[in-house]
Symmetry: C2
Subunit: 514 residues, 2 copies
């Protein structure tokens, strides 16, 4: 059937969607979420139909994506015909029914995700089925490979390529800013890509951006790594494993993350990684709650790495409180810089040298942690960090106090005397965005105490920083409501944790950080 | 934040979606699938954000739905703020995690589905989770109630209200056209609403439309039922249980139907039904494959009915071949009319009198089937059908040959001699749309043989009817490929059914009929 092209001067966010009236749809024998094939001057394309109530029945509405690809002018005639559902939908259904998927079937799904042949609803169904049914290691490996193959890859023409990844969940985790220069200073190649915050207070890319630009092209990355052995860049625009970006967008509001393993490993594979240390923060307030769970996840990472030719070791780390004292892009960048210069936070220093040490061990060095500590103490790590900052276009002479933090601040005091019994990661993570982070880079939370510290009544527990007083006030109000730091008697004097009413709710906050 | 309204002169199919640029979204701290609240002249509304790549950052794109509801003029300033995710999403997540939902939680989900506060992806995740996790009877009852409460209801001010429903899956099932007049002729009220075909060759509304108009308003339905005791109308535009229409739209391409029970029962409840017979066609080519499954489903229907105050009885019927000989709207309407006039198909007559008989039994009549047969034979049922046709605006004197069937036709012959061993429902259901049904009302398939019939080589197995020769050709090609009717030796002479290769595919066709 022929339709007049109505060019909608907006994009559908990459999706291939066309609009048809009820009448047109029924003439073609299709309804919403069916597909049509559009033929125009020898080119053809499959698109998903949205049936729009009051649309002219002789027109087809085309978003910018399709107009560009088929080079259609407004008012031109285009030929539209019914197209059957993509074959990959059959494999989505198969997964819903609980069957295992073959490698070829997974490839077909990932390809259709990247090419926008599957709708958000269909992708959501696939992710939900993956979450509930689980996936075998073969399926996870096939997913990882398919996600690599459908995106760009970087070839540094050197080996080995080292990398470090945290599964996230701990506010203030700025370890990358220390691990990267320590490893690069030892002469190893470590091209680190990071994410920006989605639902967390700061992503590593947000933190590093307080030190130097992070939005580099693939050519620029190759250049920086060539000069310094390392980089710390934003991976989001590099089109490495782009299927993952689509998965995240769909699953975000659902609070599920069945693609954790293939997502991480595919991005590393696309960067050419050969050796990887994965940090699994573990504890009540972390994504992984118990050592047992952490072990299972670690085994999966190691096995998956093997399948894709990446040597993986995992570090199970203490995840029951924020790392260091600072949470929020600028505060964290400042703390990382202070720590690499010899001051800063003890737990951050310990974690960074442990992780770097594991990578050194994989390179055959004995007593890797000691080696990492030496590089840190000697000032080599700091010099390397400044080299990387300069290569990425930042100021290599940057001092911690040059990093501007929010001018507005307020302190939260303890109402009790005792010990710090808990610091709620999720609550700290909620207060920081309320103060404006990550958009307001200077916004955040600075802890004055950590677990086990002795506190007097009236002592400051933490400070909130913001760039605007309205934001400061909002964050303060939330902080008073959430009560993120608990001070009290030691547990052996006070046994009751919580009373459970007849009806319970679990308003779980879910953070995707990659 | 303030944005300039850009009025998009198209609808989003009822969805409440706004478009924002990447920059605007990040300023608001939101990303795709997050929600915003739009404030305009004292009115407010929650909408889901689609982040559109190349959209002006000072504008917000508004589809017709929102423009109308908030009465926004192009270029006006509207205030937009971040809105947290709807609470019902928390309950969707809970179901994904495998937990049972409370009545209030289900109500919140259904309300947000109907009010378009949940995206298609979120609804797809809910339906997938419902399919995989299953639902308790309490959950199904809560869903049914919530689906009734969020739509319109009809009050006939009379009781009892009888009804009949088939779970579908059998091509050619025109039983309703006989059951309705038989029951109404006996003096009982039976206001029958039916669906149009979605993925099947014909819905009952498509069949009835060959006899009289079916697109009646609620007032017209009350009037027709007042005059005749019965009606046979299209339920799709009456806004009875509208959540179900949204569920169907989302789940259609996924091939799942977790809402079967609440969907059927909620539509009946909205019509005020007090007594219902549910037809469960059972057999290899039907939705329900075994008697055991049919029993379980029947028990669920009966229990669910009790909870909602509807007396339910179920009929497990033979579902291994099409009902009667005709498949396709006009062919079926003609066969139904012939059958009610005394000719027609024996199995159709038997099934219709059995189902009507069950309803009579529920009304306290002894030997209900006999009673139904009597009404049919005496001509009372035919007279009642003609009354209903007239009341709905059709020609009461209509003769079978007045119903136009496709002018183009072709016959398919048997290559073998023997008995008809199988008739594949799904294949017949696929050939009919290829011939143009249900849009081309005259298109369809007419069987010349049924199961067990003796066939000589060269005998006609079935005819295909179409309104256009291209369609006829397409249907014929498919028919030759699918080979929908099997003729051969009796099973005791020929044991092998199929060989299973190492790799198997199940290209299952899925039909939603309500």
């Amino acid at each position: 059937m022929e339709f007049e092209a109505r060019v909608l001067d907006i994009s559908a966010g990459g999706r291939r969607i066309v609009l048809l009236s009820n009448e047109a749809a029924s003439s073609l024998g299709i309804h919403s979420s069916d597909r049509v094939q559009i033929n125009h001057k020898g080119r053809r394309m499959i698109a998903i139909v949205n049936v729009a109530g009051s649309f002219p029945s002789n027109q087809i509405g085309l978003y910018r994506e399709i107009v560009h690809e088929l080079n259609i002018k407004p008012g031109e005639k285009v030929d539209v015909e019914y197209a059957s559902l993509p074959e990959s939908l059959r494999f989505v259904r198969k997964k819903i029914m609980g069957e295992r998927l073959e490698e070829e079937e997974i490839k077909a799904i990932v390809k259709d995700v990247v090419e926008h042949h599957l709708s958000d609803a269909e992708i959501a169904a696939f992710l939900t089925a993956m979450h509930i049914r689980g996936a075998s290691m073969d399926e996870i490996a096939a997913l990882s490979k398919a996600m690599v193959e459908t995106g760009k890859t970087i070839n540094f023409k050197r080996k080995p390529i080292l990398d470090k990844h945290s599964i996230g969940g701990i506010p203030g985790d700025k370890t990358t800013i220390l691990v990267t220069p320590i490893v690069a200073a030892a002469g190893f190649v470590i091209p680190k890509t990071s994410s920006r915050a989605v639902t967390s207070p700061a992503g590593t890319a947000d933190r590093v951006e307080c030190l130097c630009p992070v939005n580099l092209s693939i050519e620029e990355i190759i250049d920086v790594v060539g000069k310094t052995n390392g980089c710390m860049v934003w991976g989001g625009a590099l089109e490495l494993a782009p299927a993952d970006d689509i998965f995240i967008q769909v699953e975000y509001s659902l609070g599920i993350d069945p693609m954790l393993l293939p997502s991480i490993i595919s991005k590393k594979k696309a960067m050419g990684s050969t050796h990887l240390v994965v940090d699994i923060p573990t504890g009540r307030g972390a994504k992984v709650k118990t050592i047992g769970e952490a072990h299972l996840l670690a085994e999966d990472f190691i096995e998956l790495g093997k399948t894709l030719g990446i040597q993986v070791q995992c570090a199970i780390t203490f995840g029951e409180q924020p790392l260091g004292y600072a949470v929020g892009p600028a505060l964290e960048a400042r703390e990382a810089l202070e720590t690499i210069m010899g001051g800063g936070a003890k737990d951050l220093r310990d974690k960074a040298t442990e992780l770097a040490g594991i990578l050194f061990g994989m390179m055959g060095l004995k007593d890797g942690k000691h080696h990492a500590e030496h590089i840190l103490k000697s000032g080599k790590a700091e010099r390397k960090l400044r080299e990387i900052i300069e290569a990425q276009g930042g100021n290599p002479k940057i001092k911690p106090e040059d990093i501007e933090v929010g001018e507005k601040s307020a302190e939260v005091y303890s109402n009790e005397a005792g010990r710090v019994l808990w610091i709620n990661n999720q609550h700290i993570a909620q207060i920081t965005p309320e103060a404006g982070a990550p958009k307001d880079k200077g916004a955040g939370v600075k802890l004055r105490v950590k677990l086990g510290d002795r506190v007097k009544k009236g002592d400051t527990l933490f400070e909130i920083y913001a760039e605007r007083s309205t934001k400061l006030k909002a964050a303060l109000t939330l902080a008073e409501k959430l009560h993120p730091i608990g001070v009290g008697k030691k547990w052996d004097e006070q046994m009751l944790i919580e009373t459970v009413p007849a009806k319970t709710y679990h308003p779980k906050i879910f953070a995707i950080e990659r």
